[in-house]
């Protein structure tokens, strides 16, 4: 019978509207990015989508909170309390179908939103990591916690104002870590909020300790909300604090143990996938595997051109900025920022050869001020390629004039001095520790 009652609640309670709102607002949020052609903030890769969906909880979470409070007011709103008070079934049993319906609808809403984003992601990448699943599961759990907590608070304070006040207050509370985070690094305690303060890229994922900590915390919050809803007498409502505090006590050390911000490098995504034929080895990261065939030809041509250097490299490796140096002399390192998920390499053919040759096959290396000498990298690339300007994007204005002058100066030197200078640029690049980001 309870299945029949649950079916009724699924169709008739405000849970359906709450789940629907999650989908409608969420999908609108995702696809409004398409108007300015910015969907690549979420549609490039599965983990990126899962994390972006979590950021959208800034709006969806308070919404679920308010919807829960609205649902909890149903008996008062419809003047059903008197009739219900004469029925034998205990209150905690009565709220089961209602709270289950809320949880089911919010979860379906969250999954449907994920599916709406997945349509684009699936078309953009063949990389299928599993790391996004816990991120999405914790997101759905946090939404259930919001719904149940809202219902619990709605029962505690059954005022008309509770749902809107709760929704607005929830939104403001969630904005605090985001605002504080803009001014500098903040404590991982902020990860008690369901959202992350910044988007991830394809080489980062949420640390396992953060997923675990958040899962425990939101489970505690959900149980606390449920307890508020279920206890028969108001004076027993304090027991609702038990799961919440327990969740908090377990979650905080877990969150604290994670890297700052909660993200860590995704070692699987950054692992190498290499050519298996008899030619020189060309490797890309696992997450950019789709780009291997497009890179292989230009990379091998670049190796041929680099052969004029002493101690010339024999293989090409796409690496992330966080890969620790020094770079082995036998390798060309090609920065991952040259690849855009869903689009491929920033250029192709000759232009891609020139990109691999930049800095004589090294990553851009920032100096103490964080600046990268792109001019020298470009001049070296043109020298190795044997053509100035080399194919690819051209510098403009003052930078163009400066590059022309640098090119003339290099060419004016004796041939062995030119070779020595280019080799020196490569040596400097090899020594680079790690770079952060920045292409070319």
């Amino acid at each position: 019978m309870i299945a029949r009652i649950l079916r009724t609640e699924l169709r008739r309670s405000s849970a359906l509207a709450a789940g629907g709102l999650v989908v409608v607002l969420g999908v609108a949020g995702l696809y409004s990015m398409a108007m300015t052609d910015q969907t690549d903030i979420w549609d490039t890769e599965w983990t990126v989508l899962a994390v972006f969906q979590r950021i959208m909880l800034a709006v969806l979470w308070p919404l679920a909170l308010g919807a829960g409070a609205w649902q909890a007011r149903r008996d008062r709103r419809t003047r059903m309390e008197e009739l219900l008070s004469t029925t034998p079934r205990p209150a905690w049993r009565r709220v089961l179908p209602t709270s289950a319906a809320m949880a089911i609808c919010l979860t379906i809403g969250y999954v449907a939103l994920l599916a709406a984003g997945a349509i684009r992601v699936a078309g953009n990448t063949d990389y299928r990591p599993a790391g996004w699943i816990p991120i999405a599961l914790v997101g759905a759990l946090s939404l259930i916690a919001a719904g149940w907590l809202g219902m619990g608070i709605g029962r505690l304070v059954p005022s008309t104002y509770t749902p809107p006040v709760l929704a607005v207050a929830g939104f403001l509370v969630l904005l605090v870590p985001v605002q504080v985070g803009k001014d500098g690094p903040i404590s991982n305690i902020s990860l008690l909020a369901p959202l992350f303060s910044g988007p991830s890229d394809e080489f980062t994922t949420v640390a396992g300790a953060v997923n675990a900590g958040q899962a425990v915390w939101f489970a505690g919050l959900a149980l606390g909300g449920l307890a508020l809803l279920m206890v028969a007498r108001r004076r027993w409502m304090a027991v609702a604090a038990v799961p919440v505090v327990a969740g908090l006590l377990i979650a905080v050390p877990l969150l604290d143990s994670a890297p700052e911000g909660g993200f860590q490098a995704d070692l699987v995504a950054a692992s190498e996938v290499c050519t298996a034929d008899s030619g020189p080895v060309v490797c890309v990261t696992k997450v950019h595997e789709d780009g291997l065939s497009a890179l292989t030809g230009p990379a091998r041509r670049a190796l041929t051109l680099l052969a004029k250097l002493p101690d010339a490299p024999t293989s090409v490796h796409e690496v992330t900025g966080s890969r620790p140096g020094p770079q082995p002399a036998a390798e060309v390192w090609f920065h991952s920022d040259n690849y855009r998920l869903g689009h491929g390499w920033e250029s192709s053919g000759d232009e891609l050869v020139v990109r691999v040759l930049a800095g004589a096959g090294t990553r851009p290396c920032p100096d103490q001020n964080g600046d990268v000498d792109y001019r020298t990298r470009a001049i070296v690339s043109a020298w190795l390629y044997g053509q100035y300007p080399a194919p690819g994007p051209k510098a403009t204005g003052e930078e163009a004039a400066a590059r022309d002058a640098a090119w003339q100066a290099l060419r004016a030197l004796p041939a062995d001095e030119q070779l020595r200078r280019v080799t020196a640029v490569r040596q400097e690049g090899l020594a680079c520790a790690s770079t952060g980001s920045g292409a070319r």
Binding site: T78, R79, E81, L83, T86, T87, P88
Partner: protein, 266 residues
Amino acid sequence: MARVVDPAELAPTRYAWEIEAEGLRVKAGRRLAVDGLDLRLGTGVHGLLGPNGAGKTTLIRALATVLPPAGGKLELLGQSIGGRSNLRALRRKLGYLPQEFGYYPKFTVREFVEYMAWLKEMDGSQIVGAVQRAIDRVGLTDRADDRMKTLSGGMLRRAGIAQAIVNDPDILLLDEPTVGLDPAQRLDFRTLLRNLGERACVLVSTHLVEDVAAVCTHVVLMEEGRMVFRGTPDDLVAAGGTGDLGDSPIERGYSALLARHRGVTR
């Protein structure tokens, strides 16, 4: 799943009256709205009459276990009410239509009655059939799958009666059930009440004296929290004379009894 039979169900009836009150006092807010009421009601249809403010609704709410007695004795189906008594078993045998009948507007009639049947802890395998029977009995068969919010006032009242009778209650409390019913519906309702009164104790609060005359086996007249009169409708008619206010014999009896009581107390 086999139903667990409560031993209480098999035990012979151990009470003389379904509803028994002695010196019952019930508060409505701070006011003592029922003040020293003695009442014994058995199987049959009992009409509860009285002017506004006489304490009819407060009495019914106490009988429905909404309000705890503030004093005196109250026994329902032989179980004493008040203090920390466990009302769960008793409530399974109650049916109640509040004066201000709340309902979930988005539910269909069937869903609503089903929900109430579930809350009354009816045997799950019986609910679907019992719901259909209750809806049929109040004449809402063709509206069973319409939302509650689409019903007219009279239909809502009937849906309220359907939820009250779905569990075949031993005590059925109806607070102004005929409000909003048209004359034809009221005739149907009287037939329904007669049937219900054959095996249950039905207490109907109403202002419509003719309803009482037509179907009630007994009449209880309340004034200022006390019982003024208890008897058959014929006794009520007999109490009135040609000089009393009213357009029908029973109305004249009603006015006469109230006037007599007021004369005594003032």
